[in-house]
Amino acid sequence: MKVLSYDDVELGDDLPGEIPDVSMLKVTAFCTAAKHVFERFVDHEAARKEGFPAAIVPGIMSQSLLLAMIHRWAPGCTVRKIDTVFRGTLLVDSKVTMSGAVTDTDDSARTVEVDLVITAEDGRTGVIGTAVIEFQA
């Protein structure tokens, strides 16, 4: 498999979109691994009692999913910066969609800046962000 290099990337390129698994099973496994177990993430009923429509995907998991998407797109790259904004809830056991796009390139540093978006099942924007990715020389 050809590994993406800096020279393969252009401003305007889309990262391959992904539908990550945010089932209760996966979210609970993530929260357990990250020592981030709170009822609002792992229990639909408890989350409803807190005012959420259902259990919600933790922000650190959303950011991790975006990082995984970047590394699947560009294996071997180094993510120099990732900055996410949590604009709305993403519900556990729903279908969410991740996307990204190259919005700037720096030939001297061999870095690219990408937009990152996670869209909720109903079309709301759940997470936005940017990342700066360095490619090997």
Partner: protein, 219 residues
């Protein structure tokens, strides 16, 4: 000419778009925009000077504000010193009547944005508190709307006799131009000119959303 009347840059607390990257994106993607308006949240950015970018990319870059009222969010075009002293732009519970009156008295143009959205949209407040008589124009196409919100905005705007415009409400670069406003005039070069064209009513909303690509996979 076509302008995106609702965008955010890194000057907004939840914006992650650099203004130059907006320009590069518009040109690279050949988005048919002649310019855009930066409507930063709860503030007016009086410091930034984008004239060099305007020249380099041949785009009109204007500045405005998005303020928060008891009837939802409102875009204010034509912010000037007098208007800045009329109310606290950072207040998240401004009375909408204060904003509408101050804009009118100071030569600016105020219009509610994403009015079909729950909680932060004008029409959800109409259901609870009744209509506001001084509203005349609303953003009927918003790039951040979920299915049904813009349809509600268009329908309610028609019921109330409001003029409609469009804006992307972009917070990241790749969302600019999803929705925009087309003006009959080709000669808007300043924010005063924009306010004049908005007051004339010679404009309409357009959607420039890219076709969805069927390339999403489950890893």
């Amino acid at each position: 000419m076509i302008l995106d009347l609702h965008t955010h840059s890194i000057k907004s607390d939840d914006g992650r778009a650099k203004v130059e990257n907006y320009c590069k994106w518009i040109r690279k993607k050949e988005i048919p925009l002649d310019g855009f308006v930066l409507t930063e949240h709860r503030q007016y950015d009086s410091e930034s000077d984008y004239r060099a970018l305007e020249d380099e990319y041949n785009l009109l870059i204007l500045k405005a504000s998005e303020v928060e009222t008891d009837y939802g969010h409102v875009l204010v075009f034509g912010v000037n010193e007098d208007l800045l002293h009329s109310f606290d732009f950072a207040n998240i519970r401004l009375p909408i009547q204060t904003v509408l009156n101050a804009a009118k008295e100071n030569g600016a143009f105020a219009a509610p944005c994403h009015p079909g959205r729950k909680r932060v949209g004008l029409f959800s407040h109409y259901e609870l508190s009744g209509p506001i008589s001084d509203v005349h124009t609303v953003e009927v196409f918003n790039g951040g709307s979920i299915p049904g919100e813009d349809e509600l905005s268009v329908k309610q705007a028609a019921i109330h006799g409001y003029k409609g415009f469009g804006g992307s409400d972009s917070h990241v670069v790749s969302r600019i131009g999803y929705c925009a406003t087309t003006f009959e005039s080709d000669s808007i070069t300043t924010v005063e000119g924009l306010v004049g064209e908005l007051q004339s009513g010679s404009f309409g909303p357009i959607s420039l959303r890219p076709e969805p690509k069927n390339t999403t996979t489950e890893p």
